[in-house]
Amino acid sequence: MTSAPKRILMAKTGLDGHWRGPTIVARALRDAGFEVIMVGMVTADEVVRAAIDEDVDLVGLNIGGHVEVAERAIAAIRAARPEVPIFCGGVVPPWAKKRLEEKGVEVFPPGSQLPEIVEAARRLTGWQAA
């Protein structure tokens, strides 16, 4: 018997309305056997609440617009659930990528391939579907 699927929260910070990227990533993660909880475009408080109540094993943030908004969400998640890994996608400029990576957040800028992201989810959760 295989262990229960790991749960990944997918949230979007910032106000640009592009929902396409996270949706495609969510599908790829689902097809790899993960349970992906979508919360849409939310505030830092809402991401944190979902990360707690849903008892997720990994948080994926889609960054739209200001990186600072995502950083606030990351800080809030770290405060509430320090053991949960975080990865990011979306429009992340190179300077911001470096800054996020220094905080231990993996970054997948535009052009990243879905298999890379799925592989990162497997590595960060230590889980792979049978």
Partner: protein
């Protein structure tokens, strides 16, 4: 939350109002096995006041999540704490799932008086997840007085919810089916309240006639409310919330609620026995005894039924 924390400690923390502990317990319920069984015993011994469990079901896209989100608002306006178990389907092929119900509820999700948990069906048929019943018992033990169970979008016969909730709200839309559909068995028979959501669309009157025609012959059918809503705009949802409270009180007063809850014990007991049995059978089939019987059947030394009987005997003797 460390996974190494003993279950009874987590349980006490969850009962003390720690959300992270409650969330962890719901994961224990989902994982099943020995820990889930121990958790179930803790819940049984907790002597918590009974929660009112309300099932919300209907076809995919009928507006179950949006209605649920609106009902959260109604409960909160009365300062009633309310928890939601929102179930979405797991892929039968990969086991993965996209759980999207929270998207429509996140405005309510930072309220301390609201707890929303998304569950994947994980192979369970009937519109619910295996962990639904235990999840609801955990929430009840932690003092949540209202529990909304939102099912997977269902067809006509996935009515598992009727055995798991105190009462069932069925969400339909204008233009749904016709009189023939309305008279088919299943979904229409388990509703305590009908909601015609998206009632700003054409065909409301016809759908109402179809529903009312179908339930007229049911015992107590005339008392079943049929309520029109536009849940995205909050129209009519206060009426649904009032009907839920009124119907629940009526069920309790008539003794029907107690009957249903007794039925729930029987159904959940059967389901627990069956799933334990399924696990035993899987182990047996994959082991020596299974191989032996398969080989005998293949060699023509035994029939399928004879082999099955031999394996069943092995379980009973065990």
């Amino acid at each position: 939350m460390s996974t190494g924390t003993p279950l009874h400690v987590l349980f006490d923390r969850a009962r003390g109002g720690e959300r992270g502990a409650l969330a962890r317990l719901l994961s224990v319920a989902e994982a099943g096995g020995e820990d889930a069984a121990a958790l179930d015993s803790l819940c049984a011994a907790s002597a918590a006041p009974r929660a009112r469990t309300i099932g919300i079901t209907g076809a995919p896209g009928a507006g179950k999540s949006t209605l649920t989100a609106a009902l959260l608002g109604c409960a909160r306006r009365e300062s009633q704490p309310v928890a939601v178990l929102a179930i979405d389907p797991s892929s039968p092929l990969t086991g993965g799932a996209i759980l999207g119900d929270r998207v429509r509820m996140h405005h309510a999700a930072v309220d301390e008086g609201v707890f929303i948990r998304s569950l994947a069906s994980r192979g369970q048929q009937g519109g619910l997840a295996q962990a639904t019943s235990l999840g609801a018992r955990v929430l009840e033990a932690c003092g949540w007085p209202w529990i909304l169970l939102e099912t997977v979008g269902i067809g006509q016969v996935e009515v598992e919810i009727s055995g798991r909730a105190d009462l069932v709200v069925v969400v339909l839309n204008p233009g749904w089916g016709d009189e023939i559909q309305a008279n088919k068995a299943g979904l229409m028979e388990v509703a305590d309240i009908f909601v015609i959501n998206k009632a700003d669309r054409d065909g409301v009157a016809q759908t109402r006639r179809d529903i009312e025609g179908a339930i007229a012959a049911r015992p107590g059918g005339a008392e079943i409310p049929v309520i029109e809503t536009v849940a995205t705009r909050g129209e009519g949802v206060e009426g649904v919330w009032a009907a839920i409270a009124a119907r629940h009180a009526a069920l309790e007063a008539s003794g029907l609620l107690a009957t249903r809850r007794r039925g729930r014990i029987a159904a959940e007991l059967e389901s627990a026995v069956m799933s334990a049995l399924r696990r035993r059978v899987a182990v047996l089939l994959a082991g020596d005894a299974g191989l032996r019987e398969r080989a005998r059947i293949e060699a023509g030394a035994s029939g399928i039924h004879e082999g099955a009987r031999a394996l069943l005997d092995a379980i009973v003797r065990d």
